[in-house]
């Protein structure tokens, strides 16, 4: 197991290097971090030259990349081009904030999806099955940003009509909240619902399909022929096998969402990784974008590794050596 993890991590190093270099190269080609400064009239040449020297912008691309790698390892991803602001503290905060959203919404999505998928499969072609199927089809047909706006509109309308603040539609916390925990929850509910809804739709379809597949397999017939109760057949024999595909799907998605809850975070002004990314993009800051990319890529790789480990725990046929 230890060697398996070590090997997988080693294998991912070239992928990381390739991805980081390609993106670094591509972005250095098309962006000019100084473009906004240059627009400012009477900008002193010295200031610009300072930034160019500090970021080695006149050096060949490989040298720039080497400096960036050095910064990443020894300087916490270095600092922004404009303002010379250290990147790591901001990034750290963004990771924390995103983790709060993503962990909770993924947990809700997986639990709900497993329950819905299993019940749908057990009662295939029932009204329940048709209802969940229809709702999940809506789930992957609704643009996530529009769904978020609808939630916002509903919450705001409710507040305007009743004067009761159930959920906040913006930001992470209020100033001077009487109960900071409750306040945080009120801020989190809508973004979490948004993130969870789309994932429940996708995951529950996977869960239903794999459960149906398993329920028609020979070993389920054997389990029934043994005289086991339907409950044991479902909860022991079928579920364990049917969970295997969803683990992979959820893990892949988890990594992606971690870096890319861009839309949800933008709409709800949640100061996480997605917002960090969009802000960097708008400012044309190559170094903050690169920092974001590395964290996200590592998250994806780790999520995949975790998926494989869980996979191995669920299925004894998979062996790591």
């Amino acid at each position: 197991m230890g060697t398996f993890i070590a090997r997988r991590l080693l294998y991912s190093i070239p992928v990381l290097i390739a991805a980081s270099f390609l993106v670094f190269f591509g972005m250095s080609l098309v962006t000019d971090p100084l473009s906004q400064l240059r627009l400012i009239p009477n900008m002193s040449q010295d200031t610009l030259q300072n930034i160019i020297d500090r970021k080695h912008l006149d050096d060949p691309i490989f040298i720039q990349y080497a400096f960036w790698v050095k910064d990443m390892f020894f300087n916490g991803f270095g600092s922004t081009a404009i303002g010379n602001k250290p990147i790591w503290p901001d990034l750290q905060r963004a990771i924390g904030n995103t983790l709060q959203l993503v962990l909770i919404s993924e947990l809700i999505a997986i639990v709900l999806a497993v329950i819905l998928g299993v019940l749908s499969a057990k009662k295939q072609y029932s009204i329940f099955d048709y209802t969940t199927t229809t709702i999940s089809f809506f789930g992957f047909s609704v643009p996530i940003f529009w769904f978020a706006l609808v939630l916002q509109a509903l919450a705001t309308t409710f507040f305007l009509r009743t004067g009761i603040r159930l959920f906040y539609t913006f930001g992470q916390s209020s100033l001077n909240a009487a109960n900071p925990f409750l306040d945080r929850v009120q801020h989190m509910v809508l973004p979490i619902v948004t993130l969870a809804y789309v994932n429940v739709a996708t995951y529950s379809r996977y869960q239903r399909a794999s459960m149906l597949d398993v329920l028609h397999s020979d070993y389920i017939r054997t389990a029934r022929a043994k005289g086991l109760s339907e409950r044991t057949v479902t909860m022991k024999h079928a579920l364990r096998n049917a969970l295997i595909p969803i683990v992979t799907v959820a893990a892949l998605n988890f990594g992606a969402v971690l870096g890319g809850a861009v839309i949800t975070e933008t709409i709800f002004a949640w100061p996480g990784m997605g917002k960090f990314f969009i802000d960097s993009l708008i400012r044309g800051e190559v170094h903050t974008l690169m920092a974001w990319l590395m964290v996200t890529a590592v998250a994806v790789i780790l999520a995949n590794l975790v998926a494989d480990i869980i996979y191995g725990l669920l299925d004894p046929r998979i062996r790591y050596d």
Partner: protein
């Protein structure tokens, strides 16, 4: 004569499909007596597996349904029993072995766990230690070496023959009165088949269970069975002792089966296939469902219009052919046609 331990009476099983109702089993009757082995022979689609699966409630309902008939276990009809009642019968009274031991064992649980589970499901007071000890004993009985170690292994760590032995151990766990084996050796290598059959035989003898052996392999049937029921198109077309069916079949389909067998002794150089295809189970030919493939039916109105019932040929020997008495002559003709030495109209 003793009572049959399991009797299937006029069982009709249907499946609703997009293309219409499939009559998978169309009025099947057969029975098995204590200690005896009944072979059920037929092509795929003849309904031989569906009959027993339906009897134990193991087909999906819907789309499947038992439209008519009885399944009498020790005289009690178990069709339509509430699922909890039926569950007490499964494995404890009537146990099954399936075709492919690779897919019939759950890959994510140990073999021992899956055997012990059968014991625990039917013995409320059994501790898990007892269940383990008994399971190890069962594995030993079916000839799995190092049973104590093998108990904790997963199915993928077993070979095909060993897996089927484990399936037999699982089936015998509660000493059932009836053991149903559905193509138990089809998925196995030829060299392993004989061993597994032997294990089944011994296991059945030790527990005194009656055995229903479902197969398309006439060699297996000859080896194992006391009596044979031949199924075609969802019906039993001929029933009799092994002797009766191998030496003097009284249904043209059975005859065709026998003629299509390779023989070591005969000087026959080519096998005789049965012409045509098995009947459609959705819209069955009227009359005898075998008539489109039967040479004897040529020019006979009766075969095309009237469904033949099982008629008694001799004691214990029944045939569902209007003209069963002509089959003996047909044997001679077939034999002549192939240049096989025919001795008193017998095939051997």
């Amino acid at each position: 004569m003793t009572e049959p331990v399991l009797a299937i009476r006029d069982l009709v099983v249907e499946f609703d499909t997009q293309d219409g109702v499939v009559h998978a089993v169309d009025g099947v009757s057969y029975e098995v007596y204590p200690g005896e082995t009944l072979g059920v022979v037929g092509e795929s689609g003849s309904g031989k597996s569906v009959t027993v699966l339906a009897a134990l409630g193991l087909i999906q309902m819907p789309p499947g349904r038992i439209a008519r008939g009885q399944v009498l276990y020790k005289g009690r009809d178990i069709v339509g029993l509430p699922i909890d009642e039926l569950r007490k019968i499964r494995n404890k009274e009537i146990a099954m072995i399936f075709q492919d031991p690779m897919t019939s064992l759950n890959p994510v649980f140990t073999v021992g766990n899956q055997i012990a589970e059968a014991l625990l499901a039917h013995n409320d007071n059994m501790s898990s230690d007892q269940a383990r000890a008994e399971s190890v004993g069962l594995l030993d009985m079916v000839g799995v070496p190092n049973p104590d170690r093998r108990f904790d292994q997963y199915p993928h760590e077993y070979s095909g023959g060993m897996r089927q032995r484990a399936m037999i151990a699982m089936a015998m766990a509660n000493k059932p009165s009836v053991l149903i084996a559905d193509e138990p050796t089809t998925a196995l290598d030829v060299t392993i088949q004989a061993q597994v059959l032997e294990v089944m035989k011994v296991a059945a003898e030790e527990t005194g269970a009656a055995t229903i052996m479902i197969t398309h392999d006439l060699g297996v049937v000859a080896e194992m069975a006391d009596r044979i029921s031949v199924m075609y198109g969802g019906k039993v077309v001929e029933t009799g002792t092994v002797e009766d069916l191998y030496h003097s079949p009284r249904h043209p389909y059975t005859l065709g089966l026998m003629m299509s067998l390779p023989r070591i002794t005969g000087d026959l150089t080519r096998l005789l296939p049965i012409p045509g295809n098995p009947p459609s189970l959705i819209s069955r030919p009227p009359g005898c469902s075998f008539h489109p493939r039967c040479r004897m039916s040529e020019g006979r109105e009766l075969c095309r219009t009237v469904v033949p019932e099982l008629a008694e040929v001799s004691e214990k020997h029944f045939s569902a052919c209007h003209f069963w008495d002509e089959v003996a002559d047909e044997v001679l003709r077939e034999a002549a046609a192939t240049g096989m030495s025919a001795r008193e109209g017998r095939l051997d």
